[in-house]
Subunit: 559 residues, 2 copies
């Protein structure tokens, strides 16, 4: 009885419930009525007590202060050094850990704290990604500690303390998000909201700091390599009085800078999960029985086969590319870029083509759209579109640079083609995925068709006024085991796109940076600006590919 | 009968209707049923046909391409010149005007195009601001044309064409937004959505271009003034072969750069209105009778009096400041800054103090929160919080700069105090306004109290379990003409804050730029970066102050 009462009590104060609950069939007894009133009061406060407002204000303040500190330390390394920034980050990390400890030990142990779990929050790919990138970030911190210990006699101890705190934080946060990502917290809601925005903003500040640090480092390396300015070289490296006390320093430094992108990705993952948790605080999730849709790999054939072939080809050329780029020979680099660009163009063209086919089938397919509101889906779509901005940004900047300089040569032409095709592919894929997520899942239609009687069927046909749909419902009801050609095509497209996104994820995630191996954009935007664009855009692009894979899998299941 | 049917037909396909309509009392006849079905079909397509998705994709693409072009022209003035950027802008402006013409002449003339108007969209302050800033932008374009005509013999004609097109655009857009800002379009929804995002992104690209142009110009002037680098001077000015053919060129150029901030503000206003219109496409607004709340200025006294005094004092010192700054004497400048900082600190402290009082009264006041969802209000709150970021940004960057350099002297101390107080004031004011907008309007409570019977009242008291509220309801019901002290305090605070926001709007809007008259931030962040921050943040800050005034007026009316 109790949970039901609670749902009703909170109904008018939370805007998250999709279906209107039928209250007429319920009776109250005095005991539960008391609880009902208490909870009603509590819930009202939860929703309107300004907790979300306060948490928002905290988030904005930490973020903008972090932004000012990080850019201050990047543009003016005299007054604000890395040490100041790291002290600020250590404070943030400690506060966040304290709150996580409080939540794990006190809030989540209470009886009424977590009555509902959002089954869509913290999906498996996000969790797995978090652990993977968390481990690599941990490795980065170990290398950092080993490196900066060598400078302890002449540099600040904060440089060792920060990676130590961060390493602990990685464990605490990964554990916290692993166990609590699905919680819809109902107790201490105000405090939990503030804690979650603290987590969110801490991760975003860590992200900003990592992006800035990597960009500054890359710019320094670049300036060193081309030996552009002898004066600059002396200023940034030659004047360094502090020498490392052990011999492995250089190796460690190279290693941890190589691992930076994983730490950036980790922060983005954790931010996304903290944001979803924040949205879920105080939310009442209807416990819908979540149809177990069986994944039948045999249903499709062409999609997986071509997809896997694509992944193999991509992997082979990727390894070739990485090997040839390392040789630092102009001719070899150009050959590597030629292969890389060509393969990417082929992949992206095939993807665009199959997405177009999928979109046409959607037009022909008269499946109903889901009419009920679903906050998790809206959030998912928002994250997908938001993350795609990163790749959009890089591609458009490339297009402008190549077109504006009127650059000739096959490499520039390939680069331009690739950028244009990526823009096209991103737009199409976003449309395809969002459209797919908004269609009524097939098994729901099927069940409706099986349980319906002739009268209802006729009514339904009249309502939708589409002759074709009636035919397909009949068809589905009579032979549920065989796929209609439309569903089959959609499933093939989904699986193919899924594999293609996997290979497009692997290449940048494991170190392909044609953006820096090709000089046209560097020449056009100056190195500093181009590094900033790539370092901001690329992690979002990687996140986008992983997110697409998960969404395409969902679309595949419901089609 | 017809419009009612239509509302029901669209009900399940639009998520914008707040109250659930009672359908049981309605009967259908065959004729309307046909229309009902047709409309249902149409509306489903409208909502799910991908129009909003397509319009979003268009918006992202134009924005990012614009971003790439604008930053390309700022960082690399060789390959992409102002002319390329202006050609792109001319195309955008022409396309937007074409769509606006189509909408005004065809869509809006149709019978079923605009069945509903959103009474909250395009409020009077936004309309008035649009016209005011539109006129000043028009003046800017006139000056631009007059200036660039003088260079026609040796410079591109595009530089004249762009302000001409922009001037026409200003008229078309202002007329369009003036007459159609409240429309909830029901016809050609997909096309209208795309048109509105085109309008939105055009305005944002114009905004980006204006901000960049102004920043580059300010940096050039700065470098000229301090004569920092003789080489740079020659590169940017000395090499200019093109001489103006008439003598008034310099005057015109100075004049139109002075008017740039108004054009930036105009673009922001138009963007906000286009965004609200886009959100309203296909929306069904319930025609609620919109209680006419009478504005009774006699109810309050202390707030307006102190507020007007503050405005007078602010105006006097602002004029003094402007006069003294123009003299370009170090000592006079410092004296002017001293006055300006002190007055601002006094204003902001008084505001914070009164907001704290207001927040305490809210805590004591047990007025119900509005439970129904209201998209217009959510949008309003979003715009308010979003716009406040601009001022937050500037203040935090100032705080970091002053603290990090450990700058001494009374001017730095005042600057720091001001920045800290502004952050505090913004947080408090956001909280106060949002809390005020979410409270049940007083007249609604009053009516409920008057029409209620003893039983219902008792029930209500039991439910909310607050003894105080019963007393206040009795009080309100018995003497509705006299204000309770709580309402009176809240009203006084609202009016005071309103006037204080007016003076804080006037000062930056009409040219106070202490950010550039004081050197600490320029020294810390370098001139280029600081100009960018101020030119992005300040227009949002100005927008925020105007928006606050409007919101405070609304809170005042409903309290």
């Amino acid at each position: 009885m109790f949970p039901v009462c609670q749902i009703i009590a909170s109904k008018s104060y939370t805007d998250c419930i999709s279906p209107v609950l039928d209250t007429r069939s319920l009776t109250f007894d005095p005991d539960t009525t008391h609880n009902f009133l208490r909870l009603m009061e509590g819930n009202r406060k939860a929703h309107h007590g300004g907790g979300w407002l306060l948490s928002g204000i905290i988030c904005i303040n930490i973020l903008i202060l972090g932004c000012a500190l990080v850019s201050g330390s990047a543009f003016n390394s005299v007054a604000i050094t890395a040490v100041h920034r790291q002290i600020f980050l250590i404070i943030l990390l400690l506060l966040t850990m304290l709150w996580m400890l409080f939540y794990t030990v006190i809030t989540s142990r209470k009886d009424q704290a977590v009555l509902f779990k959002d089954s869509h929050a913290g999906p498996v790919w996000l969790q797995a990604g978090l652990v993977l990138f968390g481990l690599l970030s941990f490795l980065m911190d170990i290398f950092k500690i080993a490196n900066y210990v060598g400078y302890l006699h002449c540099d600040s101890a904060v440089k060792v303390a920060f990676p130590v705190v961060q390493a602990v934080f990685l464990f605490v946060q990964t554990y916290f998000l692993w166990t609590h990502a699905k919680d819809c917290v109902q107790l201490h809601t105000n405090f939990t909201r503030c804690g979650l925005t603290l987590t969110l903003s801490t991760n975003l500040v860590v992200w900003m700091a990592a992006v800035t640090e990597e960009s500054v480092h890359q710019t320094e390396i670049y300036n060193l390599n081309i030996n552009m300015s002898q004066k600059f070289y002396r200023a940034s490296y030659g004047d360094k009085k502090c020498k490392c006390s052990h011999s492995a320093c250089d190796t460690f430094e190279e290693a941890f800078y190589y691992l930076y992108p994983f730490n950036i990705e980790y922060s983005l993952f954790a931010s996304a999960m903290a944001y979803v948790m924040w949205k879920n605080v105080g939310r009442i999730v209807e416990d819908h029985s979540h149809h177990k849709v069986k994944f039948r790999p045999r249903e499709v054939c062409l999609g997986p086969v071509t997809g896997i072939l694509l992944v193999m080809a991509g992997l082979a050329t990727f390894i070739l590319y990485e090997v040839q780029i390392l040789k630092e020979d102009r001719e070899k680099t150009n050959a590597a870029l030629l292969i890389h660009f060509s393969v990417n163009i082929v992949i992206v063209s095939l993807m665009s083509l199959s997405t177009v086919i999928g979109c046409i089938v959607y037009r022909l397919d008269h499946r109903e759209h889901v009419s009920e509101k679903n906050p998790t889906r809206s959030l998912d779509v928002g994250l997908l579109v938001g993350a795609s901005m990163g790749q959009f940004l890089i591609s458009y900047f490339t297009i402008v640079a190549v077109v504006a300089t009127g650059a000739r040569g096959y490499l520039n032409a390939l680069n331009l083609t690739w950028a244009v095709l990526v823009v096209l592919q991103l737009g199409l894929q976003n449309y395809f995925i969002i459209e797919g997520l908004h269609r009524e899942p097939f098994h729901v239609i099927q069940e409706a068709a099986l349980h319906t009687n002739a009268h209802a069927l006729q009514e339904n046909t009249e309502l939708s006024a589409v002759v074709d749909s009636r035919r397909s419902v009949y068809f589905l009801a009579s032979c549920p085991d065989k796929l209609s050609w439309k569903r089959r095509v959609l499933k093939e497209v989904c699986v193919f796109l899924l594999f293609a996104n996997v290979i497009l994820w692997i290449m940048p995630a494991f170190g392909a940076r044609p953006q820096f191996d090709h000089s046209i954009e560097i020449y056009f935007y100056q190195y500093t600006m181009w590094t900033a664009i790539v370092n901001i855009g690329l992690p979002f692009g990687i996140f986008y590919r992983m997110h697409s894979v998960a969404s395409l899998f969902e679309v595949h299941l419901t089609t």
